[in-house]
């Protein structure tokens, strides 16, 4: 059974058109993360939630926002996607900070 689910798996949007990616988890983990991964690169952390506490990475563009309405769900909003935002977006969870992270299958975003 899938533990970290991401929808959609593939998303195509137009330059400047807002897009929302979703992540849900059945693990009841406290921490949820959003990563951006470009081709042949390591995942890059955008932000994470520890419960309801939001932690933004210093170099995450303002264009990226996140919401966590409850323990199970977390959303990534890209307000005005640019061509450089085309990437795989990975959601991950962990029981607590410092623990093993469980990744979802990712959403591949294409920006036309």
């Amino acid at each position: 059974d899938a533990m970290v689910i991401q929808n959609p798996r593939y998303q195509v949007t137009q330059f400047g058109k807002p897009v929302t990616l979703s992540c849900s988890q059945t693990l009841n983990h406290n921490v949820m993360y959003w990563y951006q991964q470009k081709s042949s690169q390591a995942p890059k952390l955008l932000f994470h939630y520890y419960d309801k506490d939001f932690n933004n990475e210093a170099d995450t563009p303002d264009n990226f926002q996140s919401r966590r309405p409850n323990t199970s769900f977390c959303f990534l909003d890209i307000r005005s996607p640019g061509l450089g935002d085309a990437a795989m977006y990975l959601c991950a969870t962990s029981r607590y900070q410092g623990d093993t992270q469980y990744f979802g299958p990712g959403t591949r975003l294409t920006v036309l």
Partner: protein, 109 residues
């Protein structure tokens, strides 16, 4: 910020050959984790090392943590085509996981 370098960046091996990837940090690590990412897939946790000089084995995979806790290695004995993917070491810096640069392994049958 803290950097984690992995070498080699790419490795092509014939099936049955051994493979090793090395992970080096500029600072002493409290622990290190290893993840595998298949082509088109997502990172999957393999193992965590905590103790200085620790060695752990998972079937054909051997993980080692350096005595000074600044480096780690992953060795695969007799590679198989199912070993194809990118192997990342990763470490926690305060509350976030920092991934190494990764080593992409290609296995030819």
């Amino acid at each position: 910020g803290q950097q984690v370098m992995q070498i080699p960046q790419y490795q092509h091996v014939q099936e049955g050959e051994d493979f090793t990837t090395y992970c080096n940090s500029s600072t002493t690590l409290s622990n290190i984790q290893w993840y595998k990412q298949r082509p088109g897939g997502h990172p999957v946790f393999l193992i965590q090392l905590v103790k200085s000089g620790e060695v752990k084995k998972q079937k054909r995979l051997t993980f080692q943590f350096g005595e000074a806790k600044k480096n780690s290695s992953l060795h695969i004995t007799a590679t198989q085509t199912t070993d194809v993917g990118t192997y990342f070491c990763a470490l926690y810096n305060t509350d976030k996981l920092i991934f190494g640069t990764g080593t992409r392994l290609q296995v030819f049958p």
